[in-house]
């Protein structure tokens, strides 16, 4: 009898040891909201591995529509939001996320200094990956037609012309030009590429009615002539689908989506083997790429108990533990900012973007209002309903109305 008793005791002791040394233990609920691209799916799954309390994730492309509301209640529904430098602004503006300095000291020994997003000397978010839009193209087609890889948007246009006349693709350029957020993002890229500044100095006064604005719009129009005529309804998912189907030869695409682009079912071998990645393009003879740098990271809600905040921090730290990038599939998903990361082939584009001094997307409290105004007003120009000057003054008018309402002007 004693033997059984001892065996039982020893086994349970061993289990206890294993559990404590490998698994992540939390004592309060964790609930995460975030975007749905592959790297974030990995992070979400990592948080869910923690035991001891419930871990929920809600990963959706609509995360920006729900995170503010979901973190405003007392207590907040979401204890953590995975955000980028664009979407953190709404959370900062509404004062919904807490400073993490204490938790970083207690549990953040595995973090590198450049992962800490500090605002006014307080850590407000922990970044885990970098992202940027860059060129994705079909090497096989370019080689066949003897075209060199475009380094500027002007070269992209002439390449597109050659591809179209060769008959290999009718609409060789792809772009996430869906009216709204996507279209505005493409304008921002181009506008920055032409040396434009969205605001006057450090004020919320708009500054898009400029030569750079006009040139950016005209370049977008020229590009759209080589796109699928439905381009105003295509977001990055639809644009990727066009690339997979072999209809698109050149496109400006997110690094976070490029790596796993051809992993889907039914992609032909020609596309799989022919796909290649290059850095972002410049435009108009400028030396700053027509692209923006992004980081993705996680935050911890303000309106939750300290126990929940600690549990969330531990779970999210577990999710971005440097050991996750030992898996080749995961390593390929993004440009990880984690310790021990060495760039994969798929990361070349984003690395090139960082090396070329691409402008980071501005973390300004009123940047989101400008972004929405641009997204709503450019569609008329892209359809040829009005000229560039009218569109740019429409953007400023729409932004002014919104900024006045939100108390910035």
């Amino acid at each position: 009898m004693n033997l059984i008793k001892y065996t039982f005791l020893i086994t349970s002791f061993l289990f206890f040891l294993i559990k404590n040394s490998f698994a992540c233990e939390i004592k309060a609920r964790v609930s995460v909201v975030g975007n749905e691209f592959p790297a974030i799916q990995t992070v979400g799954a990592g948080a869910k591995k923690c035991k001891g309390a419930e871990v929920k994730t809600n990963l959706t492309a609509d995360h920006q529509k729900i995170n503010v509301a979901g973190m405003s209640s007392e207590p907040a529904e979401y204890t953590s939001a995975i955000v980028a430098n664009t979407s953190i602004v709404a959370l900062l503006n509404n004062d919904l996320i807490r400073p993490l300095d204490d938790l970083v000291k207690k549990h953040g020994s595995k973090l590198k200094k450049n992962q800490l997003i500090t605002i006014n000397d307080k850590v407000m978010a922990v970044a885990f990956m970098a992202n940027a839009q860059h060129l994705v193209y079909r090497k096989d087609i370019l080689e066949k037609l003897n075209i060199s890889v475009p380094k500027t948007y002007e070269e992209m246009l002439s390449a597109a012309k050659k591809i179209r006349t060769s008959g290999l693709a009718k609409n060789p350029i792809g772009g996430a030009y869906k009216a709204g957020w996507n279209l505005a993002q493409e304008f921002n890229n181009m506008f920055i590429g032409y040396g434009g500044k969205h605001f006057k100095g450090n004020t919320p006064e708009p500054n898009v009615k400029s030569d750079a604005g006009k040139k950016a719009l005209n370049m977008m129009k020229s590009l759209s002539e080589y796109m699928n005529p439905d381009f105003l309804t295509h977001d990055s998912n639809a644009t990727n689908a066009e690339f997979r189907a072999g209809n698109v030869i050149l496109m400006n695409m997110w690094g976070s989506r490029a790596a796993t682009l051809t992993d889907a079912d039914g992609v032909s071998d020609a596309v799989k083997k022919g796909m290649d990645i290059a850095g972002p393009m410049t435009v108009g003879g400028g030396d700053i790429p027509a692209s923006t740098l992004f980081w993705d990271g996680w935050t911890v809600a303000k309106k939750i108990s300290d126990a929940e905040a600690e549990a969330t921090f531990i779970a999210m730290m577990n999710a971005i533990d440097p050991s996750i990038i030992k898996d080749d599939k995961v390593r390929k998903q993004a440009v990880w900012l984690l310790d021990g990361y060495t760039p994969t082939d798929a990361a070349r584009g984003v690395f090139a973007a960082a090396k070329m001094n691409t402008t980071p997307y501005p973390m300004l409290p009123y940047a989101g209002l400008m972004h929405s105004a641009i997204g709503a007003e450019i569609a008329d120009f892209m359809q040829g309903k009005e000229n560039a000057k009218k569109t740019l003054s429409d953007i400023e008018d729409a932004y002014r109305a919104a900024a006045k309402e939100k108390g910035f002007l």
């Binding site: 605002i119 980081w295 008018d397």
Partner: protein, 341 residues
């Protein structure tokens, strides 16, 4: 009914209306005449993986103090109603003075987001409502005249468009009418134009949304009219036949007058339904070509910017729109009621 009985009878309904309809509207009105306080802006140093730099940020302590002293926000009266996102009074005057004729006036006006949405919403409402009334009646008459054995299955299939959730229905159609989809390809083949795209042209997008609206709404008018047809008095139809009326005259002089109350009912419901058109615009990703009042509200509320006051103002303007739209029908019903008395 005695007044006292009537009072107790109506009380629960009245209370429910007060709590679920009247109070929320009051709150929306309050929201629409207030905006958030002005943000106190400060310059701070931000650091991220790409380096540190000085940027503008909100001073939360100072802004919070303002909010606590006046939690409703800043009173702005009708400012939001008159700003560019809504009635745009200043721009309206400018366009009115600079336009040569009514067409250029409407064209310039439709550049403003609110008027653009109003034009589409009204076009949608006044094309879909009559079309679906007429088609619904025709289908009901058709189904009523086929053999009883077949009727069940025909009714089932006629109701399908209404059973499909609007958002799902429109997303399915969105891919079918894609220039590489089955319907999109068919249309390109029919018109012999490989560049024709339904999604790229504003006119075609409007037509597509209207056709979708009719497709989705027909089952409702059909089933109501079909039920009404079962109550048409047989003796009247017979005497009409004896008097030598043909099928068409029977419909005009007997069936339609008999169905008139139902036609009013369906019109009323559909005017309201179509005025708040929303799902197809999202489903068809049509916001570049067509927006509606409901879509504007959704767009202001969602996104990272969350313009609550703008959304509240659009809601109030929508309510006013519905009241104006329904007033002729309501007036008519009121007159009928008084006449009968």
């Amino acid at each position: 009914m005695k007044h006292k009985t009537f009072f107790w009878f109506i009380l629960p309904t009245f209370l429910a209306m007060l709590i679920f309809i009247f109070l929320p509207i009051i709150s929306v009105v309050l929201q629409s005449i207030h905006t958030p306080h002005e943000n106190v802006l400060i310059t701070v140093e931000n650091c991220d993986p790409f380096g540190c730099k000085k940027v503008t940020s909100i001073d939360h302590e100072a802004t919070k103090k303002l909010n606590q002293s006046d939690p409703l926000g800043k009173f702005v009266g009708l400012d939001i109603y008159f700003d560019r996102g809504h009635l745009a009074i200043e721009k309206f005057k400018l366009i009115w003075n600079n336009s040569e004729n009514i067409f250029s006036f409407i064209k310039s006006l439709s550049n403003l987001p609110f008027y653009k949405a109003v034009f589409f919403t009204l076009t949608f409402t006044f094309t879909v409502t009559p079309t679906m009334l007429l088609l619904g009646l025709l289908i009901a008459l058709g189904v009523n005249s086929i053999s009883k054995k077949l009727r069940g299955i025909v009714i089932f299939f006629s109701l399908l468009p209404m059973i499909v959730t609007p958002l799902i229905g429109s997303i399915i159609l969105f891919w079918m009418i894609d220039s590489r989809g089955i319907i999109g390809n068919l249309i390109q083949w029919l018109f012999d134009d490989p560049n024709l795209s339904l999604k790229a042209s504003t006119t075609l997008t409007w037509i597509m949304l209207i056709v979708y609206g009719v497709w989705h709404a027909i089952p409702f008018s059909f089933i109501v009219f079909y039920a009404g047809l079962q109550t048409v008095p047989k003796d009247q139809l017979e005497s009409a036949k004896i008097d030598g009326a043909n099928k068409f005259e029977e419909v005009i002089y007997i069936i339609i007058p008999h169905l008139m109350p139902l036609i009013t009912f369906v019109t009323l419901m559909q005017l309201m339904d179509n005025f708040r058109v929303f799902e197809p615009i999202v489903g068809f990703s049509a916001e570049a070509h067509a927006t509606s009042l409901s879509w504007i509200i959704f767009n202001d509320l969602g996104g990272e910017t969350r313009q609550l006051s703008a959304a509240a103002t659009s809601s109030i303007l929508t309510i006013i729109g519905v009241i104006i739209l329904l007033s002729p029908v309501l007036l008519r019903t009121w007159k009928d009621f008084k006449f009968k008395k």
